[in-house]
Each structure stands twice: as C-alpha cells, then as structure tokens.
C-alpha cells in the first residue's frame, strides 16, 4: 500500500466505512509510516473541529410555519385527473421495462408488428369491399354508389356535401369513410336520412349542416314521418346547440308541426324563446307558440319574457301572443 492510497483510506476509516480486511492492512501501514500517522491525526482533528459547526434542530416555529405554508400551497393545487394518473402509471410501466431492455425491445417490436399487420389487413379488406360496391363510372377520388346499407354507415368520418337535385326527391351526399364516397337516393331513404342526420351533428361546415337540417325540416313539414327515424330529435339538437343561426332557424321551421302535440318539441322551442342568442329566432319561436293549448309553462315563459326581456321587440311579440291567450285553442 502506498501513502496516497493510505490517505484516502484514512478518511474512509475515520468515517467507519473501511471494510475490516482493508482496515487491518491500513493499520499495518500506518504503524510503520510516520507521515500517514500525522495524516490520520489531521483527519481526526478535522472531524472534531467540524463539529464546532453543529447541526441546529429546526425550531418548532419554523416547522409549524413551513407546514402551514405547504398546506396552503397544496390546497391550491388542482387534484390530479384520472387520465393524468393513468398516464403516470403507463409511463411507470414503460420505465420499469427499462430494467429488462430485451423484453422491452421484443414487446415493442411485437406491438409494432401486430399494429402494422392489423392496419394492412383492415385497409385491404376495406379496399376490396369498396371495389365490389363501386359503380363502373367512378369519378377521380370518389366512389359513387346508391344509398348504402345502414350498417355500412357506422364508420362515416364526416359529410362533405349535400346536394338536392332540382325538382326531385333525390339527394346526393358526399361523405368520407376510409376513402371519399358518394351516395344518391330519395330523401326518405333510411340510409340517406341517416347520412343527413349525421351531417346535422358532425359536419364541420355550417353550409353542410344547413343543407341537411333544411332537407330534414322540409321532410317534417311535409309530414314524411319524422319520428321513427329520429329526425325530430336531430332537429331539436340542432335548434338547441348549433352555432349557426341559419341552421337553428331551419330546425325551428322543421319542428313547427310538432309544437302543439309534442311536449319535448315545445320545451325545445321554449328554450329557444328564453335563451337563443338570435332575436329573429326567438321571435319566430314565440310565433310558433300561438297554437298551444293554454300550456302553463308556455304562459309562464311568455309572461316572463314580456316583463323582463332586454329586447323590446321580444317583449312586444310575447305580449301580443299573451293578449291572445283567451283565444288560444
């Protein structure tokens, strides 16, 4: 053992971390080496001297203050959401896989392989299916077919356009599944109706929503059976939630025949009277309440609006309707 190594070991030994076998070796060296004896004395002296800067115990005041502040800070933190905890768990699972890199690599490869294979098979099946149903005259980028069967509409990603042929009941709907598609058929065809109803909710374009709601509203006004297929519900949803006033206006028009008989429709119209952002729609909705047979909720809404609405025109219209209440059938 040389002195340099001995000096290092003296420090380790002074802190009780030198293994016994090395400690014996060190003892033998130090016993025979005056320099190392001095070194050991210096290290031991430092240990004593360093204790003159003692570790102060934190005062109870400091602990209490720190606790209080921490509690306040923790109270301001929003609780973790379930998905944050889930992502932490997933990350932890992946991190634990780092301990077994081969297993992690194999698992990742197997997952990626299965994903690629599955995706490829799915795309192949879809392409084969599309090829069998497509007509011979296929425009570039789109496949035209007659109105598809309802189950096929399960994967519609969006409606891109709706066009009604002039002077005809036939509607052409362009929609997207894995590939752009095009379907044509009469408005009362269940599949076309389904597409139109999807368009009322999903279409990103207000124009498409407006077209679909206008067609469905026309169907309702002409008495082409709005209930079994859920068109009435779709119109009520459009009236309540659509961002476009034009779409809401169309939906309101489509619901007109049902205000007198369907309480749900009446409620939707009353909601429009109370809270629609467009005064024109509110006015039109008040107009629809005319034929209602002394419904107390209608009168309450009209009374409330006529007294306290900020819009004077709305107040006037509702007063006019209320003034005709005895005449209401």
């Amino acid at each position: 053992m040389n002195c340099e190594l001995a000096h290092e070991r003296i420090v380790t030994a002074a802190y009780g971390e030198l293994p016994d076998e090395l400690a014996h070796e060190l003892e033998r060296h130090v016993a025979a080496c005056p320099d190392c004896q001095k070194e050991r004395e210096k290290v031991l002296a430092l240990r004593v001297v360093a204790d003159a800067h003692p570790v102060a115990e934190p005062s109870p005041n400091l602990i209490a203050r720190a606790r209080l502040r921490l509690d306040e800070m923790l109270d301001t933190l929003p609780p973790k959401r379930w998905y944050e905890r889930l992502s932490e768990r997933i990350l932890n699972s992946f991190a634990s896989l780092q301990a077994a890199p081969m297993a992690a690599l194999l698992l990742a490869l197997a997952g990626a392989g299965a994903g690629l294979l599955g995706g490829y098979e799915f795309a192949l099946n879809r392409a084969a299916h599309a090829a069998t149903t497509a007509r011979s005259a296929v425009p570039v980028g789109a496949q035209i077919q007659s109105a598809p069967a309802l189950p096929e509409l399960a994967n519609v990603a969006g409606i891109s356009s709706i066009v009604r042929q002039p002077n005809s009941e036939i509607v052409a709907v362009s929609y997207n599944q894995l590939v752009p598609r095009h379907a044509e058929g009469p408005v009362d065809d269940p599949a076309i109706r389904q597409l139109l109803m999807l368009a009322t909710e999903d279409a990103a374009s207000p124009r498409v929503r407006n077209d679909s709601v206008a067609l469905l509203a026309a169907e309702c006004r002409t008495g082409h059976g709005c209930q079994p297929s859920g068109i009435r519900e779709a119109l009520m949803v459009a009236l309540r939630y659509d961002r476009s006033p034009r779409v809401r206006q169309k939906a309101l028009e489509g619901l007109e025949p049902y205000v007198a008989d369907d309480v749900r429709v009446r409620d939707a119209v009353l909601e429009a009277v109370l809270s629609d952002s467009d005064p024109a729609i509110r006015t039109a909705a008040i107009g629809l309440l005319d034929p209602v047979d002394a419904d107390t909720s209608v009168r309450q809404v009209l009374y409330s609006v006529s007294n306290s609405d900020q819009n004077s025109q709305i107040r006037n219209v509702s007063r006019q309707v209320l003034s005709r209440v005895p005449e209401i059938q």
């Binding site: 802190y15 210096k42 102060a56 400091l62 933190l77 768990r89």
Partner: protein, 209 residues
C-alpha cells in the same frame, strides 16, 4: 445472546412493518390521497428542514427548500417506482434543490457566516446547542462561536457537490452508498468527493491547529 437475537428479530419485524406501512401510504398518495401524503411529510419534514437549514444557513431559504421539495414530491409521487427507499427519493429532491441554492450563492459570492431567521436577523446556532461540559464559560463560548463561523466559511469554499457530500456524511451521518444513490452517482465517486472535501477543509482550517 438469545435475548439479543430476539431483540434483533423484533426490530427487524418492526422495520418491515414500518416499511410496508410506508409503501401503503405511498400508494395511497399516488392514488391522490392528501392525508397519506401529509403523513409522509410529517415523517420526513424534520430531516429535510435540518439538512436545508444547515446547508443554507438561512431559515427563509430552508423554508423555501422545504416547500419546493414537498410540492415536487406531491406533484411527482406518481413517478416513484419503489426502486429506492422513499427516504432516498425525498433526499434526492432536497439535495438537488440545495445544490441549486448553493450554486446560486457561489455565483453571487454570498457567504453566510451565521444563520438568518425569517426576518433576516442573525441566529446564534452555537448558542442553541446545549453545552453540558463542566468547563463551559462565556470566553469558551465565544471561541466556539468564532470557530463555528470559520468552519462555516471554510465549508462555503467547497464546491456545491463537495459541500453536499461532506454534509451528508459528516453532519447527517449517511452511508457513502446512500449518498451515492441520493446524488445519482457511485459510492466510489462519493468517497473520492469526500476525500477531496476533507483535504480542502484541512487546508482552509490549517491555521486553527
């Protein structure tokens, strides 16, 4: 002999129970339980404050480190994977915060020779430590105070990492292996750092001998 062995066994069982209880608390805290986290805070806050106070020499700084450390622990407890003890994990957070603080001080060249309280007033740390020796007297107390200040000044001359290793070894009494885990390094590196720290301190304090 048999009695000692039974005592060891019962201590071992107690430790195992305490560890199991702590693991339950950690899992509850990971599931979002504030109450479980509070119990964990109470368990370690004293050690955290003691370390931060001794390293920074300032009550406000120690309090800030305490806040930051436990807020971080609360935020990231979901990432705790039971690969080390919770104690090591918490100490890792605290030592990192303390190292940041020491590095900032190094760049600002701030040398605190005394402990500061919340109001910025000086606290005589030595006075707060009881001295039961029979030769204790005012002159001696003054000497001890001056000596303590010199040691504190010598400690500030160490690099933040050397200071941290010396602190954890000498003042907190941790094993070199644990220090290595806390500082994300090896036991050997911690040992070498301790050696360098003692050498520098001896050079700084040579005049005292």
């Amino acid at each position: 002999m048999g009695g000692a062995s039974r005592e060891d066994m019962s201590q071992g069982q107690e430790r195992a129970q305490s560890r199991a209880h702590e693991m339950d608390l950690i899992r509850e805290a990971q599931a979002g339980s504030r109450a479980a986290f509070d119990v964990l805070v109470r368990r370690y806050e004293h050690q955290v404050l003691r370390l931060a106070l001794h390293l920074t020499g300032s009550e406000p700084d120690a309090e800030d480190i305490y806040q930051d450390a436990f807020l971080k622990a609360f935020r990231y407890i979901g990432n705790f994977r039971f690969e080390c003890s919770f104690y090591t994990w918490v100490y890792r957070i605290v030592t990192n915060l303390c190292l940041d603080q020491l590095r900032r001080r190094k760049t600002r060249r701030e040398d605190h020779a005394v402990v500061l309280d919340r109001g910025g007033d000086e606290i005589d740390v030595l006075a707060s430590v009881s001295d039961n020796r029979s030769f204790s007297n005012p002159a001696r107390e003054l000497d001890r105070k001056l000596l303590g200040e010199k040691i504190q000044a010598a400690l500030t001359k160490l690099t933040p990492r050397e200071r941290m290793v010396f602190e954890l070894k000498h003042y907190q009494g941790l094993r070199l292996r644990t220090i290595g885990e806390i500082l994300n390094t090896t036991e050997e590196t911690a040992k070498n750092t301790l050696f360098r720290a003692t050498k520098k301190l001896r050079a700084q304090l040579a005049e005292l001998r």
